[in-house]
Amino acid sequence: MIEICNISKRFGKFVCLDQVSLEVPDGIVYGLVGENGAGKSTLLRLIAGVCRADAGEIRIDGKRSLAVAAKQEVFYMPDRQYYDRNATPLTIGNFYRNFYEGFSMEDYRGLLEMFGLDENALLDSFSKGMKKQAFIAAALSTNTRYLLCDEVFDGLDPQIRKAVNDLLLSAVEGRKLTILIVSHYLEELDKICGMKGYLHRGRILTEQEWQELL
């Protein structure tokens, strides 16, 4: 379970997250929505241990999110992926295989094949959506217990989006994967999310408050 307790984060004078508390139960897809600048991506980076909170605590299965033991169970897929100029899907797989014990090259190759991606082609020659597919394949092959996805549907065509949805749901059902998704694609979230949270100006809103705001 991911437990977020009174997390606050400021950037200079701008309050990005103000005492946010949230619980993400195991084995579900949790969707986090909110307008631009609401603090969704920041919350995801805090959970992934990329940046530090000014106050509050995040625990993953009871372990502090910055601890290696917690980070080993989490795979963070940011909105913009970084890769080497000469990277191919194969080198990306080899890269993650070094760090995640559960990484399955067989699964990865299977997913690449499913998406129709050549494992030896340069990532730079891929479209935005194809790059995202390669990283989704890597994320699912790491076999971590938690997956943090920032704008995972961005750049995917409807057909691929459906395929990704199916993949995510089968992983949730099959191996009790917990997925926290940040996205503006509300329809997609409605299709797959078991729970949803609403972030507005650094605070978590109830569904009623969210509807009133809309």
């Binding site: 990329v50 940046c51 910055l66 290696v68 989490v74 970084y82 070094n98 995640y100």
Partner: protein
């Protein structure tokens, strides 16, 4: 473990260019060395394989800068930072892997190539194994420590600033700032207190706080240029300090790496306090420079009014420039007025502290605080230089009281006066510290220095020949400025000559030094690289002259005793103004008349022997070139002479 291996491998892959560059450049240094045809002789050879090698020094600094700046390049890009910080490692682990990889990338090729370098040196006969093996190992260790320290400063600059321009600026500030500031402080203290000459503390700070000075001192690269041997004992304090800096910087970088925000922050620096440190650090540097610059117009003294002008006009200008630089916006010249006031206060405070320090350091210490003294009249250069003399001399007991009183009443603490001679003094205090002073001995009181000169401790400190016990590992050379010979003497004869010379030196008077020109010079040249000792032979050195003539040296032979063909007289004039000083030849005359030559030659001395022992009384603007026939009478040679007493 597998994860770590993976991280090390991925990090190495991202630094492959640097790995190749390190191996290539170190390998090229070996290749160039193996093709070298001219190698210095003697013990200097061991320096080629030791830490003082200039090529490896340059490689150490260059790789330190580049690898420090490139250690965590992913921090430059948001997505890359997300990738690396999101991996299942703590920031400490990420730092240690980056730091260790950098160390290995530099240290492995360095060690391999330096040992190969040593092998080439042995094979080509430039070094001997027993003599140079220690230097070779130190040649691996010291550059690695130096590399870690340079890398530490470079890494610190990278982590603290947010773009490459400011990183470079911060790095230059770290490297040069302390040295420049301390030199400005020294200059200012010299202006504030006329008797301020030297401070051991400032000298130590200049070496230990200035990264480049410390590197130079620890490796001995400057000595290498001078050609002296590398001795561990001389470098050990600096190597220890370098190790301390390398560790401190690594810890500091680790700490900053761990607390550094993953995202870009406002401003040019990662943390706000860094901007304040840079602002006030630069202000103090520039402020001191302004104050010192304006003191030029005080013509050797210190002017409080000029200091006030420097503060009032300098601080707003520096403040405006700093505003523009720190905001990278020319419109910000007039802004941050709160800082302007604080900057004024800080500079006034610093100047106040320096003024207090200057007035304290310019005072004569109380007689009861002094354990021993050393006095040097730099204008007397026969023997040792001023600073060397100060370290060698120990005037104690009754002689100390006399010397102290003489300085107090004759010289005083005032600044330079017309017709006065510089006098340097070191007080060894009872609390174990040393204090230095520069005083001015008035020309009219020059005779009173005879009492100080006559003291045994003074002579022993001034004349290195008096401190020598034997000449076992020295050969003796003699010159009268015209001819030069290495004397073929056995150990007993050398010892007898030394005794005679020491007895003559002990009887030497200040009047003789002032009023007589030396007739020759003895050089005791070390055969074990322990430094040469030289001493002039004055006309009154009867025992030395007798001993030399016993060994077949015409020690009393002067210019007039040679068969002179002609004398060319060059007269120079000097034109000088506030900003220029030009020396030009006014006329030239050739004297061939034998009678005129005979008269003139009686007053001429070889220029080589006129190294100011007459306290500058020689007319250096008329040069005499004497063309004489050598002993065989076949060859006409020439020698530069001056007219003397």
């Amino acid at each position: 473990m597998k994860r770590f291996k993976g991280l090390i491998w991925e990090d190495l892959k991202s630094k492959l260019g640097m790995v190749a560059a390190a191996w290539y450049s170190m390998g090229m240094l070996c290749l160039v060395f193996s093709m070298k045809t001219t190698i210095p002789t003697g013990e200097v050879r061991s320096l080629y394989v030791g830490p003082g090698n200039t090529s490896f020094f340059a490689a150490m600094v260059l790789f330190g800068i580049l690898m420090g700046a490139g250690a965590f390049r992913y921090l430059h890009s948001g997505p890359a930072t997300d990738l690396y910080f999101g991996l299942p490692f703590t920031r400490q682990q990420l730092f240690v892997v980056g730091w260790m990889n950098n160390l290995l990338i530099f240290a492995v090729p360095l060690t391999v190539c330096r040992l190969l370098f040593f092998q080439i040196s042995l094979a080509m006969g430039y070094s001997r194994y027993e003599e140079s093996i220690f230097s070779a190992w130190m040649g691996c260790l010291v550059p690695v420590l130096g590399f870690l320290s340079v890398m530490g400063w470079s890494m610190l600059s990278y982590l603290l600033a947010q773009n490459n321009g400011y990183r470079l600026g911060l790095f230059v500030l770290f490297l040069a700032g302390p040295g420049v500031a301390l030199r400005q402080i020294e200059k200012l203290l010299g202006a504030m207190a006329p008797s301020f000459y030297h401070s051991d503390l400032l000298e130590d700070l200049k070496v230990y706080l200035s990264p480049l000075s410390l590197l130079t001192a620890a490796t001995g690269v400057a000595e290498y240029a001078d050609g002296s041997a590398w001795i561990l004992e001389e470098h050990l304090p600096y190597i220890t300090a370098l190790t301390g800096w390398a560790i401190l910087l690594a810890v500091l970088c680790l700490l900053i790496f761990c607390i550094r925000p993953a995202e870009r922050t406002r401003g040019v620096f990662t943390f706000r306090p860094v901007e304040w440190v840079v602002r006030y650090g630069c202000l103090i540097l520039a402020g001191l420079w302004f104050v010192n610059g304006l003191q030029t117009f005080a013509f050797g003294g210190f002017s409080t009014a000029l200091t006030g002008c420097a503060v009032l006009f300098g601080v707003p200008v520096v403040h405006g420039l700093l505003n523009m630089i720190l905001a990278f916006d020319a419109r910000k010249f007039v802004s941050a007025k709160g800082h302007l006031l604080a900057e004024l206060c800080v500079l006034v405070l610093v100047l106040g502290l320096l003024s207090m320090l200057g007035s304290r350091s310019g005072k004569l210490p109380a007689a009861e605080e002094i354990k021993a003294m050393a006095v040097a009249l730099p204008v007397l250069t026969s023997g040792d230089d001023g600073e060397g003399v100060l370290e060698q001399m120990e005037i104690e007991g009754e002689a100390l009281t006399d010397t102290y009183q003489w300085i107090r009443f004759i010289c005083g603490e005032e600044g330079r006066k017309e017709d006065s001679y510089e006098l340097l003094v070191r007080y060894e205090l009872k609390n174990g510290q040393s204090k230095y002073g520069r005083y001015w001995l008035p020309g009219y009181a020059l005779d009173t220095f005879e009492d100080i000169f006559a003291k045994e401790a003074y002579k022993k400190g001034t004349y290195a020949a008096l401190r020598m016990d034997n000449l076992k590992y020295r050969e003796v050379q003699w010159t009268n400025g015209i001819e030069q010979y290495t004397l073929d003497l056995d150990e007993e004869e050398r010892q007898a000559l030394l005794m005679a010379y020491q007895e003559d030196l002990a009887k030497l008077t200040f009047a003789e030094v002032r009023l007589r020109t030396p007739v020759g010079r003895l050089d005791f040249v070390s055969t074990k690289n322990q430094g040469d000792v030289s001493g002039h032979i004055y006309p009154g050195f009867s025992k030395t002259l007798r001993a030399l003539s016993q060994y077949g040296v015409a020690a009393g032979k002067r210019v007039k005793d040679y068969e002179i063909d002609r004398i060319v007289v060059d007269r120079y004039l000097i034109k000088e103004g506030l900003l220029y000083h030009v020396r030009y030849m006014a006329d030239q005359r050739t004297i061939t008349d034998k009678q005129e030559i005979g008269e003139l030659a009686k007053e001429l001395f070889a220029e080589e022997l006129c190294v100011d022992p007459q306290l500058g009384r020689k007319d250096r603007n008329t040069e005499y070139t004497v063309y004489y026939r050598d002993s065989a009478g076949q060859t006409v040679r020439n020698v530069k002479c001056l007219k003397g007493l």
